[in-house]
Amino acid sequence: MRSCLIVDDSKVIRKVARHILETMDFEVYEAGDGQEALNSCLEFKHDVILLDWNMPIMSGMDFLKKYRQSNSNNDAKVIFCTTENGIGHIQAAISAGADEYVMKPFDRTTLESKLQIVGCS
């Protein structure tokens, strides 16, 4: 079973994304900020990480940089999922190692499409 880590400080977004991903047969893990996400990645190997940008304690961008720089278990597909929809943010995310980018608000079709693009549908 493929695994997806949802990293978002909004419980509502985590709930919505979890619902979509579970109907796609993903095993779903959750984290409320970047630090929690790093801890989860030390414990589990995820296939995909759905990552918010603005979060307390550690932002999505800081998480991504640390995650990609870690020595092992750093190759999950990372899909940013954020309200930061400007082209500057998108380019910065790609440069930092994001594989895809979901602009909020999103729906099931958007998420399915992005997972397909990164080869995890």
């Binding site: 929809n85 380019q91 790609i94 979901v102 602009m103 079709t109 958007t110 499409s113 693009i117």
Partner: protein
């Protein structure tokens, strides 16, 4: 909003759709009429579908009829639709066409039910991504659709937040689109690679030319048996010998044509024989 409708009204709208566009709507899909006409009824301040049909039949308001039929037509589409088939198209299928046309260096492609243009834009982007390979080649892409509204939108090349998140990799969005307010505008160079025109595939009176490749995906299912035959006659006529037809991955050609043969190597593709 009250969307009360008698079965007779829905039948009248369905018949009108077939008469004007060639597309049919079986009674199981009548729900589509009710959902797609809600905004039109609001716009024209018409309380229900029975009243709307009465107004159309009274012939008082021609634009109402057009607006209703445009709304009922299915314009569902996305970029790089059906990734695997699209990769076949832009890889080995175009390579095979290229090998046949080395002398002329001229390829004509027809996206025959283009909706809002995502299919032809995806194709133009794929060609641009391989610009070195296609250097010196003239590739003409014709995009047609039965809906005037769809063609008018396709010509603009402007897509909303949700549309650009259907099938389009983020790297290509950043590379080929500009953000305009809440929407995204395709690069003019890509748009200039495509010609657009309003055309009904079941109309046997107008000939749009000869092509090396025709894309006709997920449209024939909306046609009646008679209209499917007409559409295939048009497709056969418009394909050069040995040229390709691409259909939707779940579609087959059935008994509609003896001039098109399935390609063994390319699933979903058919080749025009020499008959």
């Amino acid at each position: 909003m009250n969307i009360h409708s008698s079965k007779r009204s829905l039948e009248i709208l369905s018949n009108l759709l077939e008469e004007r566009t060639g597309q049919t709507l079986s009674s199981e899909r009548y729900w589509r009429i009710q959902t797609s006409l809600q905004s039109i009824m609001k716009e024209y301040n018409i309380p229900d579908i029975d009243s709307l049909v009465s107004e159309i039949l009274s012939n008082m308001n021609r634009s109402l009829e057009t607006d209703c039929l445009e709304a009922i037509l299915n314009n569902e589409s996305c970029f790089f639709r059906d990734q695997a088939s699209f990769a076949l198209l832009t890889g080995p299928v175009l390579d095979a066409i290229k090998a046949n046309k080395e002398k002329e260096k001229n390829i004509r492609i027809w996206s025959s039910a283009c909706s809002f243009g995502q299919e032809s834009i995806s194709l133009a982007i794929a060609l641009s991504e391989n610009s070195q390979k296609w250097s010196g080649w003239n590739i003409d892409i014709l995009s047609t659709d039965v809906s005037n509204h769809a063609i008018s939108r396709a010509k603009k090349g402007r897509y909303n937040h949700f549309e650009v998140q259907r099938g389009l990799p983020i790297g290509l969005l950043v590379k080929y689109f500009k953000q305009v307010d809440q929407d995204w505008q395709i690069d003019q160079k890509i748009l200039d690679m495509i010609h657009y025109r309003n055309y009904n595939l079941v109309n046997n009176d107008i000939f749009v030319g000869k092509f090396d490749l025709i894309l006709c995906r997920n449209m024939l299912m909306y046609l009646s048996e008679d209209n499917k035959i007409k559409a295939f006659q048009n497709i056969e006529k418009a394909l050069y010998p040995n040229a390709y037809l691409m259909m939707g991955s779940a579609e087959t050609i059935g008994e509609y044509s003896n001039k098109l043969e399935p390609c063994q190597d390319f699933r979903g593709f058919y080749k025009r024989n020499l008959m």
